[in-house]
Symmetry: C2
């Protein structure tokens, strides 16, 4: 297909008329579709229903150590839950703390604790004039929301196909002691589905931060969230790499079973060095008497081990894969060669990241919404909701049923075309 | 029985010899008993086992509003959980937020948020030179641990049989703008089991704090934790009283089902004015995507309504009542008239508060420990672990089985006698 930019004004105007008629047909359908959030579909949730039967009134609710999981106690998680989650995120079982239901909450608590109490004895960040975080972009809006909430200045770092721009990360981190952290989704990144290369991980581990309390916030959200059984990304284990590089305390690794079992009713965890865990436990002992051990037990008894999780995730993949492929097929069929947008083909995770022509993302999302399709807000993948190019749009294919997803994606490409034509016509004035 | 202080030195020395022989017999038993924490017993946990059967793989996991409780969403709790917990703590269902498993965590978060973000627009406490909390004493060690962790200065306020000394509370709160809160366990208080009188609650509601961001931290931990069906304390509802007094925003009311269903696997809540809830929700939206809705649903489907909770709590009472009575009987039989200790007879809650002669509490707890009985650490019921009289000891009768409880209490009174004799002999030198 001929690129839009190479078409004449007349050709574009004729096309625009046709596309507008198509758009009006969509509007007449009165659609109400949602492609905005990385939510599992009902079909995916059904996969985990067996978990509801694992514990019942006849079950022995003591964990392996003999502790009654129905009562208070065990602040950092029962041993078998530590082992399961440690295997999941590829760390030793003594370098993990099991939390409640939300890894986002763990990340929030980690930043909040640093604000009021510093990191392993450093000055509490609330006593500093300026605290900054590096934010690989496009990235996860809820990460950015946490740092914004605490008044932490966010600095954009562009993503490359290998991960964040490490030249920039190395330079900034080593020069500016106000930089205390960087948000990372290292595997099947949100929204691009990029997995950091070995070289990127090693460069992270070898960082020489100016701030002693600089930490890598390694959000391992999609570790086992593959789309394919035989074509999976792998990633170097960051704790081990940091240790090898002489930086054992430089990373917090976050994880949860939210998109493995039930979102909102899963089990979250943090993994870090002994020094960091000791620092964290000092706070935990004040904050709570302990997290939900029955739910920990439920997860362990259901999944049994990492193999159990892996085969479970292939059931998720069987639901997710056709959805990703449907969206990618439509993008390819409808947009290939037009030079009005680009996208990546992830092998896992929850999103497809679409880059429109500069200055078009907001208009595309607005136009889709007018016809009843809600996308993630344009700009959401950037700190402060400000995409400097107004270009990136996050597509979340998981939640809608297949027929709705196809309809929504068709409308989406139509909106991309319409907004792009206007943009190109503008430039031809 | 003749008071120890009125006995001669010789009488006391003879008695001491006898008691020491008795103590050695206890030591020979090699006991390992725990009366330290307010933990339900296994027998009590068994009462709630039916809860494990309420949800299974055949259950409809949509809540009344039609929301799939297995997925993300509903940040402040499903409607039926709000209604159940609101009924439990006697507030309207639209003035409540449902949290995770721990009300202690909600209290921690409330103080942490005030530190970093202030209260309804006030200056963040971490930006202030000095923040103070009033602490009715004796009180709950975990409350004091939170305020200590955040560097908040704690001021002791003596308890009376009607609640905290309100003359002192009124004076301090109205004069000192650095005082931002007061910790209260208003019903069956920890550790005394005192329920605040109507007059006390009304005086709380009518406080005129110098600080606009002063809040009453009303920890409704033992609202339905009665020992008797026909002899129960009642308390005025503080939110309503604050509203009537023109102070609608002055109170946070905390609650959980921890000692109703399963400690660690219950449901916690906060209740407050709309203005406060709005302030809190701003933070929650950053902190989490939502709490465990399946566990909320599990609680609602099991208890059904407040009557369900009330009849459930009578089963707890049937286990707790004989234990309280056993301890109180031993105290009475062994110590009445000796003038070496005093205690209250609570009608609910989890503790019996014992006041030894001044300067004896640490020695009594240490002596009990030497013979294998762990009590709550002396001083724990005071801020910074410092009981100025070294007098108060918290007895927690719930956890040990009856035979162990009796043995532990007998050892305890023996230790009280021995330490008191030494104290009195000292004064007779």
């Amino acid at each position: 297909m001929k690129a839009y930019k190479d078409r004449s004004k007349e050709e574009l105007l004729t096309l625009k008329n046709e596309l507008e008629a198509e758009y009006r047909k969509f509007q007449d359908l009165g659609l109400k579709l949602d492609m905005s959030r990385g939510k599992p579909s009902a079909e995916q949730l059904d996969i985990s229903m067996g978990m509801m039967d694992v514990l019942n009134s006849a079950t022995d609710l003591k964990c392996r150590e003999g502790i009654d999981c129905r009562n208070y106690g065990v602040i950092d998680g029962i041993q078998e839950a530590k082992e399961l989650l440690a295997d999941l995120i590829e760390v030793p079982a003594d370098k993990i703390i099991i939390y409640g239901n939300s890894s986002l909450n763990v990340m929030y608590d980690t930043v909040a604790r640093s604000m009021t109490h510093g990191v392993m004895g450093s000055t509490p960040w609330c006593k500093l004039d300026k605290v900054k975080f590096l934010c690989p972009v496009p990235g996860y809006d809820r990460h950015f929301a946490i740092t914004e909430y605490f008044g932490i200045e966010m600095i954009n770092v562009p993503m490359t196909p290998e991960g964040p721009d490490m030249d920039m990360v190395e330079k900034l981190v080593s020069e500016d002691a106000a930089i205390k952290g960087i948000w990372c989704v290292p595997k099947y990144s949100n929204p691009q589905g990029i997995t950091y290369s070995d070289e990127t991980v090693r460069r992270f581990a070898r960082l020489k931060p100016a701030a002693e309390d600089f930490r890598i916030y390694w959000d391992n959200a999609y570790n086992v969230h593959h789309l394919y059984e035989d074509d999976q990304d792998t990633i170097l284990e960051i704790l081990e790499e940091c240790e090898k590089a002489g930086n054992p305390d430089m990373v917090y690794k976050f994880s949860s079973t939210s998109k493995i079992s039930f979102p909102g009713s899963g089990v979250a965890a943090i993994s870090a060095s002994y020094n960091n865990l000791k620092d964290i436990k000092k706070q935990m002992a004040i904050q709570t008497i302990g997290h939900d051990k029955l739910n920990q037990l439920r997860h362990v008894r259901y999944f049994k081990n990492l193999d159990g999780i892996k085969s479970h995730m292939m059931k998720h993949a069987a639901v997710m894969r056709p959805k990703f492929e449907a969206v990618l097929n439509i993008l390819e069929q409808e947009l290939d060669g037009l030079e009005i947008g680009s996208w990546l083909k992830p092998k896992g995770g929850y999103f497809i990241s679409f880059d429109a022509l500069d200055g078009c993302a907001r208009a595309i999302v607005a136009k889709a919404k007018e016809a009843g399709v809600v996308m993630t807000g344009a700009g959401a993948t950037y700190p402060y909701g400000r995409d400097p190019h107004d270009s990136n749009i996050r597509i979340a294919p998981s939640f809608p049923p297949m027929d709705e997803l196809i309809q929504a994606t068709k409308l989406f490409v139509l909106c991309v075309k319409l907004v792009s034509i206007d943009k190109i016509l503008e430039s031809k004035q």
